[in-house]
C-alpha cells in the first residue's frame, strides 16, 4: 500500500456530520459498556445474592459517585440502544436517504439524552 498518501487528522478541525457523531458515540458507548461489564455483573450478583448485599448495593448507588456512574452507564446504554435500532432500520433500508439519515441521527441523540436526563432526574 502507498504509505505516502496525504493524511489529515487534525481532530479539532474535522467537523463530523451528525450521522458521524452518532457513529463515533455508538463506538464510545459500546466500549464503555464493555469496560463496565464486570461492574454490571457484580451489581446483578449483589442485587440477587442476599438482602445484605442488596442493601449495600442500593446504599452505594445512593452516593453521588454511585449515581454519576449509574447515569453515565445509563446514557451509554440508551445511546447504544437507540443508535442500534437506527442501524437495524438502515439495514432494512428504512432510513437510507441522506435527509432521513440526518433526521434519524438527530432523533437518536435527542431521545437518548432526553431519556437519560429524565431517568437521571428521577434517580437523583
Amino acid at each position: 500500500m502507498n504509505n505516502r498518501r496525504p493524511k489529515f487528522l487534525a481532530l479539532h478541525q474535522i467537523k463530523l456530520p451528525l450521522p458521524g457523531v452518532v457513529s463515533i458515540l455508538h463506538r464510545i458507548s459500546g466500549a464503555l459498556l464493555f469496560i463496565a461489564l464486570p461492574l454490571l455483573l457484580w451489581m446483578l450478583q449483589c442485587s440477587l445474592r442476599s438482602i445484605e448485599t442488596y442493601t449495600r448495593l442500593t446504599d452505594a448507588l445512593q452516593q453521588p459517585l454511585g449515581k454519576l456512574v449509574l447515569i453515565a452507564l445509563l446514557w451509554a446504554f440508551l445511546h447504544h440502544f437507540c443508535a442500534g435500532i437506527r442501524y437495524l432500520a438502515i439495514d432494512l433500508q428504512l432510513a437510507s436517504s441522506l435527509g432521513r439519515a440526518r433526521s434519524s441521527s438527530r432523533w437518536v441523540l435527542a431521545v437518548s439524552l432526553a431519556l437519560t436526563a429524565s431517568i437521571g432526574i428521577w434517580l437523583w
Binding site: L44, S47, I51
Partner: protein, 115 residues
C-alpha cells in the same frame, strides 16, 4: 501468498449477522425486563428475587447475556482492528477479551442459578 494475519477479520457475513441477531435478542430482553420490573407494585429485594426465581426469566437472561458476549466480542474486535496496528499486540488483546467474555459467561450462570 496473500498476507493474511491471524488476528485479522474473517471477511464474512456471519459476524455481521450475529451482531444483528444478538442486538435484536438484547433489545427484546431489555424491553421485557423493564416492563416486567415496572409492572411490579413494589420493586424491592423480595419482588426482584421473586422475578429471578423463575426459570423462564433466568433462561431468557442467560440467553440475552450470551447474545451480549457475542455482540461485545465482535464490537471490541472491530474497534481493536481499527486502532491497534501491530498484529502481536492485537492478538494478545483479542485473546484477553475472549477469555474475559468466556469467564463472564460462567460467572453469569453462577449468578443466575447459584443464588
Amino acid at each position: 501468498m496473500v498476507g493474511r494475519i491471524v488476528s485479522g477479520a474473517h471477511y464474512g457475513l456471519r459476524d455481521w449477522l450475529v451482531q444483528r441477531v444478538s442486538a435484536v435478542v438484547m433489545a427484546l430482553y431489555a424491553l421485557c425486563l423493564t416492563g416486567y420490573a415496572l409492572a411490579q407494585p413494589h420493586l424491592d429485594y423480595d419482588s426482584w428475587t421473586r422475578m429471578f426465581s423463575s426459570n423462564i426469566l433466568r433462561s431468557f437472561t442467560l440467553l440475552a447475556l450470551l447474545a451480549l458476549y457475542c455482540h461485545a466480542w465482535i464490537g471490541v474486535r472491530d474497534i481493536v482492528m481499527d486502532y491497534v496496528k501491530p498484529a502481536g499486540v492485537r492478538l494478545v488483546i483479542h485473546v484477553l477479551v475472549l477469555l474475559a467474555l468466556i469467564l463472564y459467561f460462567f460467572w453469569s450462570v453462577q449468578i443466575l442459578w447459584g443464588m
